[in-house]
Structure formats: C-alpha cells, structure tokens
C-alpha cells in the first residue's frame, strides 16, 4: 500500500506557488499569466465572476488540466504528481462519486486509490457528521450530504493542503454554517486551504487572504481588510444643501456624494472629528456621523466593473 511520504520541507512559507500560469482553450484564454502565492496554514479565497478562471486554476493545481504555459508547485511538488497529491485533498466542482455504492464504500474505493488506511474512512465520515448515513447509497443522498461526502473524501489523506471549489455550493444555511466551521477548524489545524467561492460573505468570514480573478488575471489580492480598504464616512445634516456646500469646499466635490438623504464622504474616517467641528461651527446640525465599512461585495463589484 502506498503511503504518503513526509511533508516536503518548505523552502519558504508558501504552500502553493504559481508563476505565469496560463491556460488556453483554443482561442479562449481561461487563465492568463497567474502569479499566486498561498502560504502554509492560511485560508486563501479565489473570487471571481463566472468564467473568470477559478475552476480552471484549481484543475491545473490538481493535475487535471495541463497548463499551456507557466509553472506551479503544490506542497513543494509539481501539481498532479503522486508526490504532490499525497499531501493534497480536493473537491472540484460538484462532488463526484459512484452512485450505486454507499457513502462508506465510496470512501473505501477512494482510500484504495490514495493508499490510505481504511481506518481513515470512518474518521473522515465522522468529521463531516455523515456516519449515520454512511451505509446508504450515494444516489439517495441530498445535495448537502453529497457535498459533505466530498469534503470527507478530501480529508481522507489527512492532507496538508485542501483545494475546495465552491465548498458551500448547494448547501442550506445550516450546512453553510457547518462548512464554515469546518474550514475554520482546518485553519486551526494549520492546514492550507485554497477555496474558490461565489459567496463573498463566506470568503469574508473564513479566508485570511483572497485574490480576485477577472478574465483569467489576478486583479487584486490581499487580506480581507486590505481588500476592503478604509471605510467611508456617512453624514446626515440639516440643512442638507448647506452641509453639501461646506463639505464640497472642504473635501472637494469628488469626495462627496448624496445618497438617500445622506452624504457619503470618501475620506479617511479619522477626519470625522474635524468634519463634525466644521459643520457645527457653520451652524449645520449634524444628526448622524458614522463610519461605514466597505463590504467585500462592494470591493468585488467595483473591481470587476472597472475591468469590464
């Protein structure tokens, strides 16, 4: 039985590295010169609209698709090699299993391919709370159960790196919460998780860092806080036209926008006191002044619309 060797000694703190990774499908450029660095023990989210190249990137990192150009290392090894995959658990797109087998037998079949012990089968089933239904055929499973079995299969090898494509896809709200808890648990265990997601709130909650893909290119990357950038100030003041004139003069018209009875100020929130003082000194009554954090959704929409 093949058993995973020791974890390759990291040359640096990166678990997944790509340089100029490119994939063409005839005239279509799915991934375009992608440089990606995912550090050991972090949860990294790949964001992007449909067709941005997220799944193609993950497939190349698992050896399912051959890159047109560029290089990659996963767990210190070229992607798709036995040495790399021995340390990588994955779930790409929908979980795929043999419908006539039970959940447990499916994992046994997968474990035989992976060369892992059958004892891991029950441990993995327990980790995703699927032990009770493990004897039932896969074809009778709900979408959520199929998704959980996919995660159980990804955990079979006790991997250092997990590659998860839309892990919450098809799950109900309770299932999504469970999935986030599971990913949080993986982070606590210092496993590296690379996930793609459409759910910005999910990425916001579980990821340490995220990258935004658009037309196969990485257009932004950073911690969630870095991506959000600084918050903005919102002011409600009376009379509104006088407040607007004062703020235009003080901050510049480009930094002030009226929005549903508020004035949205695109300035450093640290200037809130200064702005409040100026308005009050000019007999403008400030009824509300607060900082509004940008959501990842705002950032995502702004980034992807700018590049259209």
């Amino acid at each position: 039985m093949q058993s995973p060797g020791p974890v390759p000694a990291p040359l640096d703190d990166r678990s997944i590295v790509t340089r100029g990774l490119t994939k063409h499908f005839a005239a279509i450029i799915a991934v375009d010169g992608l440089d990606l660095d995912v550090r050991y023990g972090e949860v990294y989210g790949l964001l992007g609209p449909n067709g941005a190249g997220k799944t193609t990137t993950l497939r190349m990192l698992l050896g399912l698709a051959h890159p047109t150009a560029g290089t990659a290392l996963v767990a210190g090894q070229p992607p798709g090699t036995a040495a790399s995959l021995a340390h990588v658990g994955s779930m790409v797109e929908t979980p795929a299993f043999w419908p006539y087998l039970s959940g447990r037998d499916n994992l046994r079949a997968v474990a035989a391919y992976a060369g892992t012990s059958e004892a891991r089968v029950d441990e993995s089933l327990a980790a995703v709370d699927l032990s009770e239904r493990a004897g039932h055929r896969f074809s009778t499973y709900s979408m959520g159960m199929k998704q959980r079995l996919g995660v159980a299969a990804a955990l079979l090898k006790d991997p250092d790196v997990l590659v998860l494509d839309e892990p919450s896809s098809g799950l109900d709200p309770a299932g999504m919460i469970e999935m986030r808890q599971l990913i949080a648990g993986l982070r606590k265990e210092r496993r590296t998780v690379l996930l793609s997601s459409h759910l910005l709130s999910e990425v916001e909650q579980v990821c340490d860092r995220a990258g935004v893909l658009q037309h196969g290119r990485l257009i932004a990357e950073g911690t969630i806080a870095e991506l959000r950038g600084q918050g903005r100030l919102v002011v409600r003041a009376t009379p509104a036209d006088r407040a607007r004139a004062l703020l235009d003069a003080m901050l510049g018209p480009d930094c002030v926008a009226a929005e549903g009875g508020f004035l949205r100020l695109n300035v450093d929130p640290a200037r809130a006191g200064e702005i409040n003082r100026r308005l009050v000194l000019d007999d403008v009554e400030v009824t509300e002044l607060r900082v509004v954090e940008r959501s990842l959704e705002d950032v995502f929409m702004q980034l992807t619309e700018e590049r259209q």
Binding site: L62, A65, H66, A82, F97, P99, V110, A112, Y113
Partner: protein, 277 residues
C-alpha cells in the same frame, strides 16, 4: 497499479449493471443456443431448412463433443455486443459520473489508474468466459442425457484452448468498447458506435462481403472476421462441411492480440494527454 486494480475491482464487483449484462449473455447461451435449438431439432417444424443435414445430426452441436465450439459461437455477434457494452460501462461511466477527477486527484497516476481499470475489466471478462464454458458444459451434459445419446467430452487441452479463445475474443470486443468510451468521454455515443460496429458492420456487412473473393483480404483484416475465424478453427462434429474459415487459429489470434494492444495503446495515449473536465 495494484492499488488502482484493487479499487477498480472493489467497485466493479459491486456494480449491478455489469452482472446483469453477464447474466443476460449466459441466459441467451442457455435459452437460445441450447434449449431453443434443441427444442427445434427435437420437433423440427415442417419445412425447416437444414441445408441437407438432418436435425438429428445438427443436434450433435449441442452435445459435449461440440461444447467448446458451440459456446465460442456465442462470443461473437451478441456476445461481442455485450462485451463492447461492458467495456463502455467500465471506462465510460466514469465520465458521466465525473469520477475520473475523483480517481486522478488521489494520485495513482493516469496510466496506472487506466491500467488498473483495464485489468479489472479483463478479470470480469475472464469470469464471463469461464461462466459461459460452465453453462455450456452443463447444458450439453443435460441434453445428451435427455436424448439418451452418448458423446465424448473434449480433451482438457481443447477446453483450455477454447477458454483462451473465448477470453481473447471477448477481450477484443471489450477493449473496443473501452477505447471508444475513452475517445468519446461518455457512454452514449461510445455504446452507439460500438454496437453498430459489432452488430451491423461486422455481423452483416462484412459477412456479406466475405462471400466475394475480391473482398476476402480486406475482410480478413477486421477484428470480427478474425474472431469468427478463431471460432471456426475449433472442431465441430455437428457442423462438418460448414464454410471454411478465412484464416487459421494462429493468424486470427495474432490479429486479435494486435487489436487489443492497439486499443489499449490508443486509450493510454489519449487518457494521458487529455485534460479532465
């Protein structure tokens, strides 16, 4: 490769569809090749054409002496079609279920995974060949007893040769289904093309063409013609004087092995280089 074969056989041996197919071929062998033919030759309908051979003489094909040859007759035609279907199911269903990626992401390596799959299919075909010979032996023993006749049993060497021939012919057809499934990455189209080839091109078109001398060299290059040639190389008491085979057993065997190697090589080449969806 051992791990791949173990996983593959673990799944294949639990898959109802493949056993239904095998049981179907055994049922056809028992019901149509033996029982129905026996019933017809025992009570021949008026005007039944037997090409000048008496029904009693033809019944000897159902007795133990002809048992290997009679069973081998079922490995081409419908047997070939069922073997094609088995090959398509073994390789093609993985594309429909999306389990190719499940397998490959476990790290067995593409060629080892494919080799494990092909070996599991070979084991299944070998079991089918043994089961066909066993059903044929049992049926011939019962029928010769019911008729109150005697018949010598073939030698162990002849039985082993027939078993090998059955395995080779079924392997060739199963490999054809296998390579079609890998090429088309699905079961539907692979099954359609494979069955049309086995049942229409080989069984009808080439059988018609083999009657003309000018086409014989062309026809004798096709896998089905060589499968038929290998079957006809086995002796038959009941079918004495039947048409001469297009080629000898050795040539037919070599051509069939060459086709199996060709189908395996094409499958491996395509599976190795192609992206997995």
């Amino acid at each position: 490769m051992t791990a791949s074969f173990r996983s593959e056989w673990f799944r294949l041996s639990r898959r109802p569809a493949v056993w239904f197919l095998c049981a179907g071929l055994l049922a056809v062998l028992l019901l149509f090749t033996y029982l129905l033919v026996w019933a017809i030759f025992t009570n021949p309908p008026r005007g039944v054409a037997t090409a000048g051979v008496s029904p009693a003489e033809l019944k000897r094909t159902l007795y133990p002496a002809d048992w290997p040859r009679t069973v081998l007759g079922d490995t081409t035609g419908l047997g070939g079609a069922i073997a094609v279907t088995l090959g398509v199911l073994v390789a093609g269903s993985e594309y429909g279920w999306g389990t190719v990626k499940t397998i490959l992401t476990q790290g067995p390596g593409r060629l080892k995974a494919l080799a494990g799959k092909a070996l599991a299919m070979e084991l299944l075909v070998a079991i089918l060949a043994v089961a066909m010979m066993a059903v044929g032996a049992a049926a011939s023993a019962v029928l010769v007893t019911v008729d109150g006749r005697t018949s010598a049993w073939p030698s162990a060497a002849e039985v082993l040769e027939a078993l090998g021939a059955a395995w080779l012919i079924l392997t060739m057809y199963a490999s054809l289904g296998f390579v079609l499934a890998v090429l088309f990455r699905q079961t539907g189209l692979a099954l359609g093309v494979g069955l049309v080839y086995a049942l229409v091109v080989e069984s009808i078109v080439l059988n018609l063409l083999r009657g003309a001398d000018v086409f014989k060299p062309i026809v004798s290059a096709f896998p089905g013609a060589n499968a038929t040639g290998l079957v006809m190389a086995f002796p038959s008491i009941g079918l004495r004087g039947a048409a001469e085979p297009l080629m000898g057993a050795a040539q037919a065997s070599i051509v069939l092995v060459a086709y199996v190697v060709l189908f395996a090589a094409v499958s491996a080449l395509v599976f190795r280089v192609r992206d997995v969806d």
